[in-house]
Amino acid sequence: MIERSEISIKPGEFYSSDKDVVISTLLGSCISVALYDLSVSIGGLNHFVLPFPKNTDDPLFSDSAKYGINAMELLINDILKKGGKKKSLRAKVFGGSTVFDLQKHAIYDIPKMNIAFVFGFLETEIIPVDSYSVGGTIPRRISFFPHDSRVLMKYTKNGTSGLVKRENTFSHKLLEKTQNAGQPIFF
């Protein structure tokens, strides 16, 4: 049996590698995208959420969407810095489940908004989606092998007691950050 290093990522984090490692995360309403360039065996995984309702009809143009775009851009840049090519990138998409009753009654549908955003983004950036598992009501545990792009996914309720709290805390922190986002430095 092969022993691999396992890197676990939390909401707001991303990790990419050209090593034979496994990157894992536990997802509720958040989204994870596994991105990879198989020609150079480099890939990475992120875990993000759009922090507040979109204020335009288009999923890519709101201030909220910029946090999703940013999460994707950070992962893409990290892969490119390790030798990946943007034109060779492919994706697998997971998450966006409605994991607790409160979300069903929220004034906006967080999981649906996250799902619409991520597919809109990948289509705009012309990054093909090889597979996906989104929506539903049960959290997902994802293990991504960047060397060969394999993903193991299972629905789970084990260890998810703090999940909603963690994802909400992350979302609220993002919301606070937006107050000072984009503050310029002039030279």
Binding site: F61, D63, Y67, E73, G182, P184, I185, F187
Partner: protein
């Protein structure tokens, strides 16, 4: 008609997103997907401001800034760097090559517009 602004970014989503907010506020927008295209646009079109990313294929944003500052006719155009890069050494490099300002993504629409108005009142 508002001022003309060139956006240089390899991300179509970012270009569309910036274009959307700028056009809504009366600016005319031109696009380039990397430093090479950015320089080509500048040779064809007079603009009042350049907004550029750093990490791009073919020619990165800071190399493009350096080349703009060395080119007669366009060397004085204000350049805002809009990037995910916040590392001090990269920001310093931006200052060294002649960028006017630095904005770390994700940006906020209102703050971006405020910043643009400070640079091109």
């Amino acid at each position: 008609m508002g001022a003309s602004i060139l956006i240089v970014d390899d991300s179509v989503s970012i270009r569309q997103s910036v274009r959307f907010i700028l056009e809504q506020n009366g600016y005319t927008v031109f696009e380039g997907s990397d430093g090479v295209e950015g320089l080509k646009r500048l040779s064809e079109q007079k603009v009042q401001l350049v907004i550029t990313d750093v990490n791009m294929p073919n020619m990165d944003g800071l190399t493009m800034v350096k080349k703009i500052r060395e080119t007669e006719g366009i060397k004085f155009v204000p350049i805002l760097v809009l990037t995910t890069e916040s590392q001090g050494s990269v920001v310093e490099e931006g200052k060294k090559v002649g960028a006017t300002g630095w904005i770390v993504k994700p940006f906020n629409n209102e703050k971006l517009l405020e910043t643009i108005k400070k640079v091109i009142p």
